[in-house]
């Protein structure tokens, strides 16, 4: 009874936290909506500068990582196979790392072309494009920060499973970390079309 209540409690707490995370990004989505409505043509032109291939690749990587995160929890909760859980957690972290590497190449390319805040090349462009890249770096940067935090949490979970702090009978913390990782994924699912696809 006590144990079950604690599980429900930690789940409520986690969802409330995720809600506040969504609202943090909500402020940025609001800015995006306003500026896109103000400068539709500039936003279109600027989005052509992004590499759709990189974006799609990263989307695929993150979706895969969400699957492996689910499999990690499933292996412990339903199958009681901690070693498999650790393996899947490691794959999830690796996916996160791959995502960051692709992201780093993408950002690097933008820097090379002078498409970053305060760069002369960007400042010479129309205001909508400056705003587009301001938002692009802010939103993908904040998202990347969440990916890094998520990877750290997943790493901690590997330790938890090893030491039996997360086990077949007791998975709430692992589930919560899984929820966090899905949040990271779903925010990207919104960022991807907004920056790469709509034009």
């Amino acid at each position: 009874m006590e144990e079950r209540e604690k599980t429900v409690g930690s789940r409520i707490g986690m969802w409330l936290f995720l809600l506040s995370e969504i609202l943090i990004f909500g402020g940025l989505f609001l800015l995006y909506a306003v500026y896109r409505a103000k400068h539709p043509v500039d936003f279109h032109n600027a989005s052509l500068d992004l590499s759709r291939f990189d974006g799609t690749l990263n989307t695929a990587i993150l979706l895969t990582s969400s699957l492996t995160a689910v499999l990690a929890i499933y292996s412990l909760q339903e199958l009681n196979k901690p070693k498999r859980t650790i393996l899947f957690l490691a794959i999830t972290i690796a996916c996160g790392l791959a995502f960051l590497v692709v992201k780093a190449f993408e950002w690097g390319a933008k820097f090379e072309h002078g498409l970053y805040p305060r760069a002369a090349v960007l400042l010479a462009k129309p205001p909508g494009e400056i705003l587009y890249f301001g938002l692009y770096f802010t939103m993908t940067g904040l998202h990347a920060l969440h990916v890094i935090i998520g990877m750290c949490l997943l790493g901690v979970m590997i330790g938890y499973v090893r030491r039996g702090k997360a086990s077949h009978e007791h998975t709430p913390v692992l589930e919560n970390v899984g929820l966090y990782w899905h949040l990271v994924d779903i925010i990207w699912i919104f960022l991807f079309p907004l920056f790469y696809l709509i034009s």
Binding site: E5, V8, G9, S10, I12, G13, L16, F17, L19, S20, E21, I22, L23, I24, F25, G26, G27, L28, L30, L31, V34, Y35, K38, H39, P117, R118, L123, P126, P127, G128, I130, L131, G134, L135, F137, T138, L142
Partner: protein, 550 residues
């Protein structure tokens, strides 16, 4: 039940006595017990309050004469900025939820602790870290922040002062506030004793619960807005910079989307506690329990849609202004419902004006003045005349100091005997209330008059014709500070030298009064089973009354 708990009082150990692994101060600083964390917040919040009061007094001294050279104009800017940041983000917003929410929420609903004790302690240190970053920022870099507590762009972007660091400190304070909110919502849902239905909860719990939702939903928006200020200053991303196509007005929108609901974060817990006090000191059930409970939720939800009334003269569209003005008038309705219900509770009750109740009555008087002057500011035409004058400053202090502040003082006097098991001097508390009340009105009523006469806020100098009123306001502020000193002096004296308090000095019917003063670390010997509402007084008497009968 009552006699049982008295018998147990001998074997019971007060929450602040050392019985854990780590004794002394270290045990206090690392304990996850909700009462100890509440106590840590109490000390921290009141310390910052004291510092911010001193900054306020310095401003008033500068205003004694039109050509005063007490501080420079730039120092005056820093004074009102730091006074605002400290009062708003370190005292008023965290105040009641972190002190009394932590200390009493679990007791009021019949639980042993908060849902997430470790998160609770973490949020305290996050709060301290945020406060430290703000304070250290004043000494570092290019000079202390002078933007006003609202950090309005474009000034906060163009100014060279060390604003980014102060803004980051406020960001940390906001994160701490979100975590407290999450803890309170979860605790209210999870830790209630058997039989403690939502409609048997004391109204103070409803106040904390509604507040916690606003904390969770509104605070992230200011979090990201503050981050954007930092990114704008450090990297120049352009979203609020009009030279790059950004819109400074959007900053105001994002800022007030949080900061108006934040006003309700400040006032709602206070209203909840006042709702607890009226039945106790009238010895009568609260009038309209459900309407008070739901009006808290109504304030929390409608209050989230009125932010545009801070921006009537900023250049937003007339349609938006009309709508925001309408919604602003709407939100006055649930507030008025509460005030009328409190007054109706006293009707035909057996009213006893003990010090806590005196502060509650003061709350109603001051909050009503604040609320009614708010209608003048909420109306489009009169706002154009009064905006950015002392009238706004007076209105705001009536609501926040008169409302939240007096609610906090009422709670302090109400729960002090329970928290520390000591009783304070009632007569002295009554006298200090009146000194405080007179000083308060002399000060802030004069600000309202000055504002109506056209005195703009945030100026370090003024036209000679305002001199008399400015001097009166400053004298009022001194009386106010004397009143504060007397009040806190009385309580601090009682903390060390006070007589032992009884378990239920006011004859309250809520759960905290059914356990010994001070409570034990575990709150209850056995988790109580709740069979009735929080304000059923017929069968309960205070200890003194019981002794008389026996």
């Amino acid at each position: 039940m009552a006699s049982h708990s008295e018998a147990r009082a001998h074997e019971h150990e007060a929450w602040f006595l050392d019985n854990g692994k780590r004794p002394g101060l270290r045990g206090f600083l690392t304990s996850t017990n909700h009462k100890r964390i509440g106590m840590l917040y109490l000390v921290a919040v009141l310390t910052f309050f004291g510092v911010a009061v001193i900054l306020g007094v310095l401003m008033r001294i500068q205003m004694l004469s039109p050509d005063s050279k007490f501080v420079s104009g730039q120092t005056y800017n820093v004074l009102f900025t730091v006074h605002g940041i400290m009062m708003i983000f370190m005292v008023v917003i965290p105040g009641i939820p972190t002190i009394f929410g932590n200390f009493f929420l679990p007791i009021l609903i019949g639980g042993r602790d908060m849902s997430f004790p470790r998160l609770n302690l973490f949020s305290f240190y996050l709060y301290l870290a945020g406060a430290a970053v703000v304070l250290v920022s004043l000494a570092l870099g290019t000079g202390p922040v002078d933007t006003g507590w609202t950090f309005y762009v474009p000034y906060s972007l163009n100014s060279t002062v060390n604003a980014p660091m102060a803004v980051f400190g406020v960001f940390l304070l906001g994160m701490s506030s979100i975590l407290t909110g999450i803890n309170i919502v979860t605790t209210t849902h999870q830790m209630r004793a058997p039989g403690m239905t939502f409609f048997r909860m004391p109204l103070s719990v409803w106040g904390l619960y509604s507040t916690a939702w606003v904390q969770i939903l509104a605070t992230p928006v200011i979090g990201i807005t503050l981050l954007l200020i930092i990114l704008e200053r450090v990297f120049g991303i352009g979203v609020f910079d009009s030279t790059k196509g950004g819109d400074p007005l959007l900053y105001q929108h994002l800022f007030w989307i949080y900061s108006h609901p934040a006003v309700y974060i400040m006032i709602l817990p206070s209203m909840g506690i006042i709702s607890d006090l009226f039945p106790v000191f009238s010895r009568k059930n609260i009038f309209g329990y459900k309407t008070i409970a739901f009006s808290s939720l109504a304030i929390a939800s409608v209050g989230s849609l009125v932010w545009g009334h801070h921006m009537f003269v900023s250049g937003q569209s007339d349609t938006a202004s009309v709508l925001f003005s309408l919604l602003t008038f709407l939100v006055a309705v649930p507030s008025a419902i509460k005030v009328f219900n409190w007054i109706a509770t006293m009707y035909k009750g057996s009213v006893k004006v003990d010090p806590p109740f005196l502060y509650a009555l003061g709350f109603i008087a001051l909050f009503s003045i604040g609320g009614l002057t708010g209608l003048i500011l909420g109306a489009l035409s009169t706002d154009v005349y009064t905006h950015d004058t002392y009238f706004v400053v007076g209105h705001f202090h009536y609501i926040i100091f008169g409302g939240m502040g007096f609610g906090l003082f009422a709670a302090l006097h109400y729960w002090f005997p329970k928290m520390f098991g000591k009783t304070y001097d009632y007569k002295f508390a009554t006298v200090s209330f009146f000194v405080l009340f007179v000083g308060f009105n002399l000060f802030y009523m004069t600000l309202l008059i000055l504002g109506w006469a056209g005195m703009p806020r945030r100026y370090y100098s003024y036209l000679p014709k305002y001199t008399d009123l400015q001097v009166i306001a400053t004298v009022g502020s001194w009386i106010l500070v004397v009143g504060l000193g007397m009040m806190f002096g009385n309580l601090i004296y009682a903390f060390f030298k006070g007589k032992k308090a009884e378990a239920n000095p006011w004859g309250g019917a809520t759960l905290e009064w059914q356990i010994p003063s001070p409570p034990s670390a575990e709150n209850f010997e056995e988790i109580p089973i709740i069979t009735q509402g929080p304000y059923v007084f017929t069968k309960r008497k205070t200890d003194a009354e019981k002794e008389k009968k026996e």
